[in-house]
Symmetry: D2
Subunit: 258 residues, 4 copies
């Protein structure tokens, strides 16, 4: 049976501030990327999010970010590869502690925001992130943009990689995402986004901006937690996947459980 | 053969700022308490400090603090026990990642500064810290002031506790430290501090401020890293201990190595 | 004509996180206490809030806090009076810059959260805050709990003080607030809170927890921005004040405008 | 009589960490760029630095930075122009408060580190900084790299600009600095740096890396505070300037005093 992972960014509240409807999303996804305090998430929120994901049977991973709370990790910063390596270890370890205390373990690492984009195109930075993951625990999967430098780095480091695709973003013919700033870069209509997700899940392909058909092997689809239609989109996508006989499961869910 | 641990706070630099002569101190102590980013220590410094301690054969532990970089963790804060629990897990986990990557593991947790003092007298707070340590790894030792609520909490949580004494601080008859603000609270003369340390190490006793003799069972002595005479004191104390036939070793060093 | 000020805490968003319905509240209050980056509010939010308050004709002041973003300034911290002095100057100055750029000026300073409570009872801390206000601009008013040490300190520093009362908090016979933790400390019913506000505004008195009648001269009433009924309460109170012929105006609104 | 300004970055300590020999440098410079809390400097240190500069008769300005304490403001960040504008206002205002309380006023703004470099080449960012300065106080001077976009932006905003040159950095033929990473980019020998400074101060020219003679009109020379030879270089430069009959004075020192 075919299967695909649905992942979502969670635990993005901070202190007195709330963000996202984590409980609703946990009922819809198979993997959660949990903020580790650098762009969002304080220790209390990390603890609660890990416990909540565990209760929902959702796989968890570290959502590692540049140190920029004010910018929510969305502003690129010129960090060195040594800095990227150590900040990745720090954040994975911090989240690991809550998993450990809750009697579970991390399954993956996915960089957040600007760090995700930087690691998608910069192989040296990507290597630093991959090596941090491997040096912490080589069983951790590395999640990154399908076709990106990050996945190459992960494979080179001997890690299992998880290729991510987006249901609601337009792709260019070279497999990169159309930048958010450009008109049409985000697919607003739920039915179009679901159609793109289904093409990816079923056929491993997506129609690029220029009309060409792009091969896109993806292991996981990213659900956004904060859009207006986030929940209705997620429910629609789940229904479409189930109707098509495609299981929703975290990578290695069967193997890990064994 | 009698033995005692010498511990020191390390990794207290941050970003571009340097503090302490870590390399010199690592040659003199048996245990290092490493800052975890809340009062000092950024990821790069934590990594370097762990690697350096490992190279020197010095046992490492997490030096967990209140979140107060500007105040260096020295200002008491009214944190809840739930907050204390989660911030302790976070910091232990962050440091653990560097130990894991370096192929070693943490041996202990010691709270820093204001958190140390608060946990010495507040049993509920102490319980939160002890439970965080136990939930992360019950093999970790909990270091606290000899006779403090923190050690009681550690024992209640089933942890091995390490009682700490100070060579250069005056004790009151009830075993508490004379507050730093008071005249004479800090022993400035190296020979007097060494004499107090030797009385603790050899006889398990110290002369209190009121002249009475206080029983003080201590497993570790704290060396300060930033005083003017820190290194000469440490060297003098080592010589005195060796002359008295007392080994300098981290708690459980033999057992852990086995 | 009798008048009273209605004040509210505003600009309490941070980065990507939203808090409070600032636009709705600005239509209802006469004074805004604007967060200065220590418990909430980043530069962009401060700028926007100052501009928005100015557009609504609402007087603005600095809502000065302990440095504790994660705890939203609600956790007491053992800061020295020198630290309190300098952090107050820093925050007032930061907010002043946005007022200056917008062509307006600050009218007051009100400490936030834990600092408010600490300065209400600790005269030395209160003196530090009052001196910072005076040293920045002696025309600034100092807002504090009616009957508190902060107002005494403000008068001693030669400042005009603004006594604050709460519509929805129970008072003890000595004029202090019943702590939030205790049952009944917060008045949940809008009509009861409005009744208490009207007693304060009209008669300068409030019924204490023990049933006694407490004299309470207040210049301003605090509206909370984040409660479920915040807006409906504010509208109800405005209507009641207008029906009673009591004007709603910032302290010195007429004098300042002259 | 010819004159030139000598400026230095000061107040770069933070919390318990010390950096630089501020007192020694204040005896040697005519202008101080004071950190405002974003890359260094906490409120207590800002207060002390302003008071100390005032006591030494040294002109003061805001050393505005990207929000990156851990990276000391040296890592470029992709901030928007709106963010740059508001963070500049925030920092100028915060420092202004200490000047105001000390009975003096700011004379200039100079961006720090990565922001300095970004604003030297990016005119839109430079405009944001210049507009923030002008909107706070159009009498403030804007300090930037001689020939940079920042100075163009300052002039366009109607500000008086101060062109900065470096005694110890190699220039390329186009007036830009040779990047630090390249061999020979920093002039280590004091006598060569003094010679370059004197050529700039006397003749308004400097020999570029390619041997060509570059015209370089500079109003101020930057002294580094943290190099090994910082103080001896500063003393040597002062002696050379005095021997050449060139006065050392902050820009507009005479006019401002009038």
């Amino acid at each position: 049976m075919k299967s695909i992972d649905l992942n979502c960014d969670l635990g993005e509240s901070f202190g007195a501030w709330r963000m996202g409807d984590d409980d609703a999303l946990l009922a819809l996804v198979s993997s959660a990327n949990i903020a580790c305090g650098f762009h969002a998430g304080d220790p209390a929120i990390m603890q609660r999010t890990v416990e909540s994901a565990l209760a929902h049977g959702v796989a968890i991973g570290a959502h590692v970010s540049l140190p920029d709370l004010q910018g929510f990790g969305r502003r690129e910063m010129a960090v060195s590869t040594a800095e990227a390596y150590s900040m990745t270890l720090y954040q994975i370890g911090a989240l690991h502690a809550f998993a450990q205390a809750a009697g579970t373990r991390l399954g993956h690492m996915k960089p957040h925001g600007a760090l995700y984009n930087m690691a998608a195109r910069d192989r040296r930075l990507a290597d630093a992130l991959a090596q941090a993951v491997r040096d912490f625990d080589p069983r951790l999967r590395l999640v990154g943009l399908a076709g990106s430098a990050l996945l190459e780095a992960g494979r080179a480091a001997g890690l299992e990689v998880v290729a991510e695709a987006f249901a609601d973003r337009r792709y260019r013919a070279d497999g990169s995402l159309q930048p958010r700033g450009e008109a049409g870069a985000v697919i607003e209509a739920n039915d179009q986004a679901i159609a793109q997700a289904m093409a990816i899940a079923r056929e491993g392909s997506v129609q690029a901006v220029d009309g060409s058909c792009l091969t896109l092997q993806a292991d996981t689809l990213c659900l956004h937690g904060d859009g207006a239609h986030a929940l209705s989109f997620a429910r629609g996508l789940r229904a479409a996947l189930q109707a098509a006989g495609i299981a929703i499961a975290a990578p290695g869910a069967v193997a890990d459980a064994a």
